[in-house]
């Protein structure tokens, strides 16, 4: 028995378990499908419809795996196959880093790695649109790039304000500390950025359906599109999971911590879905102005007060 406990406490085994089992792939893939379904169902119910059945994202994924893809050759073809896989791996890695269970390890600076992994799918989408050589893909990628520059400033400042006020870039320490008013301000700023990060209304500009066809995804089909869908679902799990870990109270019982994490993530999904159903798509210049003029001031104030508090304490 002792040997098993010792084996489980080995950092590499813990890291692998986090990446592959919970909150990694084994949990994250069904959770991604569940969150995608929740979003569609919530939007449908807001519109007075019944909406898709529970297993719909799973059916979509399996069906896409069985479809053919247009023949592609050369470096551009290889890149088009690689981008969705890189995006999916990065999003899965980001979910694996979340400190859901108590004393789940982690290292100093894992918050920075999480932010980098969360940003990677967005960069892959930009690259994918340009690789596809479709005019609609290029427009979508350009929009994604402009939007990314806008919301990321606020998103990163919000995270930095939380981290600076608590003197650490370690996720587990951040998750365990009691919440302060500054903490909640940072979380509110992250919540404002999430619709842009997840490409949902009112910031669904890069993949603006019926406007620029499907944006960067226009030329994608079959298994590659399935990987993009899965990557998008994993982004949902990682982004909402980040908010859930920052909001969640410190719980030492592992199963209760896991249930709290799932419930809080689901709550954030519902909140974002309702906001998406209640709003229409903004223009790109309005979105950029919103982030640079309205929210940036508050994010700057949050960082300034965090640094001030640090020097005072």
């Amino acid at each position: 028995m002792n040997s098993i406990v010792y084996f489980v406490q080995l950092p590499i085994v813990t890291a692998l378990a986090r990446l592959l089992i919970f909150p990694g792939l084994l949990f994250a893939v069904p959770a991604a499908w569940f969150f995608l379904w929740s979003e569609r169902k919530a939007v449908a119910m807001m519109q007075g419809r019944i909406g898709p059945p529970f297993m719909q994202p799973f059916f979509d994924f399996i069906k896409l795996l069985g479809k053919t893809t247009p023949p592609r050759s050369g470096v551009a073809g290889m890149l088009m196959k690689a981008w969705p896989l890189i995006a999916m791996s990065a999003a899965a890695g980001a979910v694996g880093l979340l400190p859901v269970l108590p004393s789940s390890g982690g290292f100093e600076g894992d918050l920075i790695l999480l932010l980098a992994l969360l940003e990677l799918p967005s960069i892959c989408i930009i690259a994918a649109g340009f690789s596809s050589r479709s005019i609609f893909g290029e427009i979508g990628s350009a929009r994604e790039a402009v939007l990314s520059v806008s919301y990321n400033i606020v998103f990163l400042l919000a995270i930095i304000s939380i981290a600076a006020s608590q003197h650490t870039f370690r996720l587990e320490t951040l998750a365990q500390l009691p919440a302060s008013p500054l903490h909640w301000l940072g979380i509110a700023a992250i919540l404002v950025c999430l619709p842009a990060k997840l490409h949902i209304n009112p910031f669904s500009l890069p993949n603006a359906e019926q406007e620029i066809y499907a944006g960067p995804m226009t030329e994608y089909a079959g298994p590659e599109l399935a990987m993009w869908d899965l990557s998008h679902g994993l982004e949902w799990v990682a982004s909402t999971g980040l908010v859930a870990t920052l909001v969640a109270p410190h719980i030492t019982i592992w199963w209760l911590a896991a249930i709290t994490f799932v419930a809080l993530s689901f709550g954030v999904v519902l909140l974002l879905s309702v906001a998406a159903a209640a709003t229409a798509r903004l223009q790109i210049d309005t979105s950029v102005r919103f982030f640079w003029q309205c929210t940036l001031i508050f994010a700057g104030l949050a960082v300034a007060s965090a640094l001030f508090m640090r020097f005072v304490s």
């Binding site: 898709p52 979509d60 399996i62 069906k63």
Partner: protein
């Protein structure tokens, strides 16, 4: 895989010179009253994502080339649904010198949904039928036979506009 294909038909809508009557009915099929998303139906922006090509209109000369291009962009296995009487017979525009129809002259049509315009419940039924055909089809390009949805069975072409029409039963079945 077959079951997933049946439960997840993604559409691409192509107008080949329609008067817009059928196009409005396709949008109505996705609206809260008929809610085709219950069957997993999604109207996609790109033909690359679609499984079923939904064509309206009598196929004008200008549209004939575009239809073939879009059909070739849809990845297999795929199906074609002709919405309305125009793609089936060119309807009242028959013998017009601006037409190059009907649709079957250019594409292998799997399901015809007749009506001018067909009711949304007829369109939902036609798409569901096409999804069933799709489920049994491996990446085969040309289907052996087309399926005609009888007008009486689904209320296609019914001129009633209100909710009192007896042909609404198909939509009620879908909702339940």
């Amino acid at each position: 895989m077959c079951y997933s294909r049946k439960r997840s038909p993604w559409l691409f809508h192509m107008n080949s010179g329609s008067c817009n009557g059928c196009d409005i009915e396709i949008v109505a099929a996705l609206s809260p009253r008929y809610d085709a998303e219950q069957l997993g139906v999604r109207l996609e922006g790109s033909p690359r994502h679609a499984d079923i090509l939904v064509v309206t209109g009598p196929v004008t000369r200008n549209a004939a080339g575009a239809i073939k291009t879009v059909y070739s962009q849809v990845c297999g296995p795929k199906a074609v649904v002709a919405i309305g009487s125009c793609p089936a017979t060119t309807n009242v525009f028959i013998d017009s010198r601006t037409l190059d129809g009907p649709l079957e002259k250019h594409l292998p049509v799997d399901v015809f949904v007749p009506g001018c315009p067909p009711r949304p419940d007829a369109i939902v039924r036609g798409v569901a039928k096409a999804a069933e055909i799709l489920a049994e089809r491996e990446a085969k390009r040309w289907p052996e036979e087309s399926v005609m949805i009888p007008m009486a069975e689904v209320g296609g072409g019914c001129a009633c506009s209100g909710g009192e029409c007896a042909n609404n039963s198909a939509a009620d079945e879908v909702k339940q």
